[in-house]
């Protein structure tokens, strides 16, 4: 009896990795999924924050994919290790702060370590030549295989026939003839294959699954690094970049103003780590102060916050200032006029 081979598939939750894993399962290989959590995954923290999103069905697509395929999924926290990928990408950033090629190399490298630790034979990804401008190109495919250390143990079932044979093909663990030769940005072959397998509820491709590909998010992250004088962040920083309106009022501090109730509730959880403000005389948002502030800065922050409250046309608005030890005091300020908000403040 021949030994059943074992592969681990990088599962993002999108269609390509779903299909790649399924194609290899069809060949009798035992496949388990692995999903890496960088902290920037859109999948993660988008669920719970905004009130309007709470009504939408909540589903972690990587888990959903694993369930569809009847396979185990290992979710790996790489938040700390990922920082070095993001701070110093050898192959540079994409259009925003997305280090896609280095990210892919890093994830395949982690998967390679994982198969060695867990007695698996090879790695599967859903990559397709030409699908993505930075990381999925004909010339970058061998770079990923080489720099990750996975070399010929990395199989891309959706485009394998456009690439040199890998060990699983050479050894007959999988039949190359039953793999595919997809290329380019078209999604039609994937959609046809999904239909053949009976998948009709997969996550729609929507420009990536990472906040770092988002221009506005990247502007806020770059501002954070500039303000700190170095590339650094903690998990709370990258969570808060996703929430609220960010106004850089001075090099020393910025104000994060909630845009709706859900964000306000979420930001309440940070009141012990940041000075916070809320309007008390009129309904309005809450705000967190990120940085070091003087009394004058707090006056400015209160006036800006008042501008975003229901009291924006009132003569004065009362704003409660709460420090991290929950001591509160009240400032009475004149809300800023619409032209006083300097566009450059808004990140």
């Amino acid at each position: 009896m021949t030994q059943q081979r074992k592969a681990v598939a990088l599962i993002s939750g999108g269609l390509d990795s779903l299909l790649a894993a399924r194609v290899v399962q069809e060949q009798g290989v035992h496949v388990e999924g692995i999903n890496f959590y960088t902290g920037f995954c859109v999948e993660g923290h988008t669920h719970a924050i905004r009130k309007k999103d709470r009504a939408k069905p909540k589903r972690n697509n990587a888990l959903w994919v694993a369930e569809q395929l009847g396979m185990k999924l290992h979710i790996v926290d790489i938040i700390e290790e990922y920082k070095q990928v993001l701070f110093n990408p050898k192959h540079g950033y994409g259009a925003n702060l997305n280090p896609c090629l280095d990210c892919k190399i890093f994830m395949v490298k982690k998967a390679h370590e994982w198969i060695q630790e867990n007695g698996f034979d090879f790695i599967i990804t859903g990559e397709v030549i030409g699908q993505r401008p930075m990381s999925q190109r004909k010339d970058t495919m061998p770079v990923i295989a080489r720099d990750s250390g996975a070399t010929n143990l990395l199989l891309r079932p959706l485009c394998a026939r456009n690439l040199p044979e890998t060990l699983p093909e050479q050894e007959g663990w999988v039949d190359r003839e039953q793999l595919f030769d997809f290329s380019g940005r078209t999604r039609k072959p994937q959609m046809a294959l999904a239909e053949k397998f009976g998948f009709d509820d997969y996550a729609q491709p929507a420009g990536g699954c990472c906040f770092l590909t988002d221009a506005q998010y990247s502007v806020k992250l770059a501002d954070l690094w500039r303000a700190r004088g170095e590339k650094s962040y903690e998990m709370d920083d990258i969570m808060l970049l996703k929430v609220g309106r960010h106004l850089r009022l001075s090099p020393d501090f910025k104000l994060i103003i909630s845009r709706e109730e859900g964000e306000g509730n979420f930001m309440q959880g940070y009141r012990n780590q940041y000075v916070s403000l809320k309007t008390t005389s009129h309904p309005g948002p809450m705000a967190l102060v990120d940085g070091v502030v003087s009394e004058q800065d707090l006056q400015l922050a209160a006036r800006v916050l008042a501008r975003y409250s229901k009291g924006k046309t009132a003569e004065s608005v009362e704003v409660e200032i709460r420090d991290m030890d929950a001591n509160t005091r009240c400032l009475k300020v004149a809300p800023m006029g619409p032209l006083e908000i300097i566009p450059e403040w808004i990140l």
Binding site: Y37, G44, H47, A48, K58, A62, E67, G70, M239
Partner: protein
Amino acid sequence: MSRMVVDCRRMLCPMPVIKVQNQAVKMAPGEELEAVCTDPGALNDIPAWSRINGHEVLETRTEGAEYIVVIRVGDS
């Protein structure tokens, strides 16, 4: 039987899942693990993760702003 409790408050998915996963591997089959979460997504994600990894979901409930999922660790 004693029940291990993991505090996943203020974590957003998938962190509660990761915390449950990393605790479950240290536990013996049959032991119970309770996750206390504030992300409502955990009510779907932890059971989904449990189903695909061979653990039994004993209970899911909401207590005010907290979401609690109890699983029995499987033998896989």
